[in-house]
């Protein structure tokens, strides 16, 4: 069952439509990625989902309830991590967290305990009494996430949480998000990094020009491209000898041979790989190396929009 249902979201600024009929659902424990280039409408969509921006059309239901900008009960279920470091730089990490915790109704011992917990989760306990202005970019990003976890959200919304951070902090952030999803938290994650979406998200929605171009699992999206996997094989001896056997192998749609190298296009590499190996060895070629290249989301985006993700 879906925790959140977003239906036909619309937003216009004067004569420009920035979000145009976006719909998706996210189940508990599921991580849903909104993938798109800058200006695709991801942040505006997120703002309407979180309830900080009034929408011009469509609806959002959270845990079966209508969710509006004035719905305090549903807002209490959402943890929001905005793209910017939305914290007071002159206050310490602990003071910032305590402040936002109070806005979620935490107080006294509960508040102190929860602040300690989120500091621990994000690995900031030791420097929690330092002003945020003294934090590195990565630490500030982690604290930004910590503030979104204070209310033990059922839905965690992260808007490009790894923008501008070092690889180590990025890894830590992605691990933390994956852990939360494992604990049953529904995650809505926007990014323009294809690798993040591939690594983290169970399902991905591809957003461009304010419209949802496609959505589904990685495999489902890749299948939209229509191309199969590329299998690259290096053999001892002349590769051309294996071509007839490979062309007869079910699932292989194209075979190119170049000296000791074979390049195959196959519909579903995992299923036909044993048959391919049998065909190559049966033709008297010893396999030295084998590489499978699946189409990625970049290719999907290119196919759907006619331009690269980071254009």
């Amino acid at each position: 069952m879906s925790l959140i249902e977003v239906t036909d979201l619309r937003k216009r600024y004067r004569s420009t439509t920035v979000v145009d009929g976006v719909s998706f659902t996210i189940g508990e424990g599921e991580t849903y990625g909104l993938l798109g280039p800058n200006g695709a409408g991801k942040t505006t969509t997120i703002a309407m989902v979180v309830g900080v921006l009034a929408r011009d059309g469509g609806g959002v239901r959270l845990a079966g309830r209508a969710h509006e900008v004035t719905s305090l009960a549903t807002k209490a279920m959402i943890g929001y991590v905005p793209q910017e470091i939305a914290l007071y730089p002159d206050l310490t990490a602990r003071e910032n967290l305590a402040f936002f915790g109070r806005l979620y109704g935490l107080a006294g011992r509960d508040l102190r305990r929860r602040v300690d917990e989120v500091l621990d989760v994000t690995g900031l306990s030791e420097r929690s009494r330092e002003a945020v202005s003294k934090y590195s970019g990565g630490m500030a990003r982690r604290l930004n996430i910590a503030a979104g976890l204070l209310n033990r959200p059922r839905l965690l919304v992260l808007d490009e949480p790894t923008a501008g951070v070092d690889p180590q902090s990025r890894g830590a952030i992605l691990d933390a998000v994956a852990r939360l999803a494992g604990e049953g938290v529904a995650v809505l994650y926007t990014t323009h990094y294809m690798e993040e979406a591939e690594r983290l998200c169970d399902r991905v929605g591809i957003l461009d020009g304010g419209r949802m171009r496609a959505e589904g699992t990685h495999r489902e999206l890749v299948s939209l491209v229509g191309a199969g996997d590329h299998v690259l094989i290096t053999v001892d001896g002349a590769a051309a000898g294996a071509v007839p056997a490979l062309e007869r192998t079910p699932g292989v749609t194209r075979v190119d041979a170049d000296e000791a190298r074979l390049e195959l296009l196959v519909a579903e590499s995992r299923a036909v790989l044993p048959l391919i190996l049998d065909a190559v060895t049966g033709a008297g070629c010893a396999v030295r190396s084998l590489e499978v290249r699946e189409p990625d989301l970049e290719a999907v985006f290119l196919k759907l929009t006619g331009r690269a993700l980071r254009d």
Binding site: L72, K75, P82, L103
Partner: protein, 384 residues
């Protein structure tokens, strides 16, 4: 409750910065001291006198001290007198030549020398007082000489006669109506109320930067994403600024009363003016902090409006010294209404009822500013 949480975090942020504390408390007290010394004055300038000490010279010295408006003291010699004036111990000095008595009795000329730097109002007042006293004495001496020349008697006798006649006073000057600045008020009574108005408004406008930062950082949007109603966020942001402004006003009142003995008049009236002026400052901060999307214009406009309206409203130079036209212009500033109200309370023992018109105008200013400010803040919260 959440509004209080937001209000207190704003107060905490302001007080954490020590330069803010110095600006909010230290500078106003210093300003009260400076303006008090500049415009309040001692009202009794000090005059040093050196040189001849004969009966006629002493008579001149007595004439200088006669009105009670000048403190006269004898100084050993002209060199010392000059040094004391240069060091500021005396506002001016008069050197009487050693042959003064002889020259005057014989109808000759005696050259008095006046020493002054003329750099403050006391020195200027003193020079006028000295000129008037010397001129009067000169008139009496000439009248006495005239009598002697007409054979009416010896010089001493004639001088006594004309002095008595002049003492009766042919012309009397009577002041009617209400004095602009009543006698007997301390120097700091003039400087404390305008300083309070200037700094409260300026501080309120500087807190607008904090509101703009909160919006730009995305903190206000994050607050709105939490289960906190927009009205609580707005109330919290307003409350924080009002608390800062009110705290400064109260501390200036308390500090000036304790350090300089400033009496703020009727407590109810003073509290009413303080509260409505706090609301005016808070409202102005709300407008400034909610309208702009960058910090630069907020800082520039905040300083310009804070100082400009303050100067125009009589918080730097007393409103009483303005011409009629400028006084009319000053009426467009809230400062002028606050100045009027405090002037009535502090100088003329007015009560709450007497300052109700000024309180009403200030309340109208506050209401208008809050209406615009809350609309702009809500718009920035909901529309991003």
């Amino acid at each position: 409750m959440k509004a209080l949480t937001i209000g207190l975090i704003n107060l905490k942020r302001v007080l954490r910065d020590r330069s803010n504390v110095v600006f909010m408390l230290g500078t106003p007290i210093l300003m009260i001291l400076m303006l008090g010394l500049l415009f309040g004055g001692s009202r009794e300038p000090r005059l040093g006198v050196s040189g001849a000490a004969g009966p006629l010279a002493e008579r001149l010295v007595a004439a200088l001290a006669a009105g009670g408006a000048v403190q006269v003291e004898r100084v050993a010699d002209a060199g010392r007198l000059r040094a004391d004036v240069e060091r500021g111990r005396l506002h001016g000095g008069l050197v009487i030549p050693q042959d003064y008595d002889a020259a005057v009795r014989s109808g000759g000329r005696a050259d008095l020398r006046y020493v002054s730097l003329g750099r403050d109002w006391d020195a200027i007042d003193l020079e006028s007082a000295v000129r008037a006293a010397v001129q009067r004495e000169n008139t009496l001496l000439r009248a006495a000489r005239y009598g002697v020349e007409r054979g009416a008697g010896p010089f001493g006798e004639r001088l006594a006669v004309v002095s008595r006649a002049a003492g009766d006073g042919a012309v009397r000057v009577t002041t009617t109506g209400e004095a602009v600045i009543p006698a007997g008020l301390g120097a700091f009574v003039f400087s404390a109320p305008p300083t309070l108005l200037l700094y409260m408004f300026l501080t309120a406008l500087t807190t607008a930067i904090g509101l703009t930062q909160t919006r730009l950082l995305g903190v206000s949007r994050r607050m709105y994403a939490s289960p906190t109603p927009a009205r609580a966020i707005m109330a919290g942001e307003v409350l924080g600024r009002l608390l800062i402004c009110l705290a400064q006003g109260l501390l200036i009142m308390l500090g000036s009363a304790l350090l300089f003995g400033v009496g703020w008049g009727d407590p109810l009236g003073a509290a009413a003016v303080l509260v409505v002026f706090t609301l005016v400052g808070g409202g102005a901060a709300l407008v400034l902090g909610s309208v702009f999307r960058r910090e630069g214009p907020v800082i520039t406009l905040g300083v310009l409006l804070g100082l400009g309206l303050g100067a125009l409203g009589g918080t730097m130079v007393p409103l009483e010294s303005f011409g009629e036209g400028m006084r009319r212009v000053a009426r467009f500033t809230p400062h002028a209404w606050g100045y009027d109200a405090f002037t009535a309370l502090v100088r003329r023992d007015a009560g709450l009822l007497d300052v109700l018109p000024q309180v009403g105008v200030l309340a109208a200013y506050a209401a208008a500013l809050f209406a615009v400010g809350l609309w702009a803040l809500r718009r920035s919260l909901v529309r991003g």
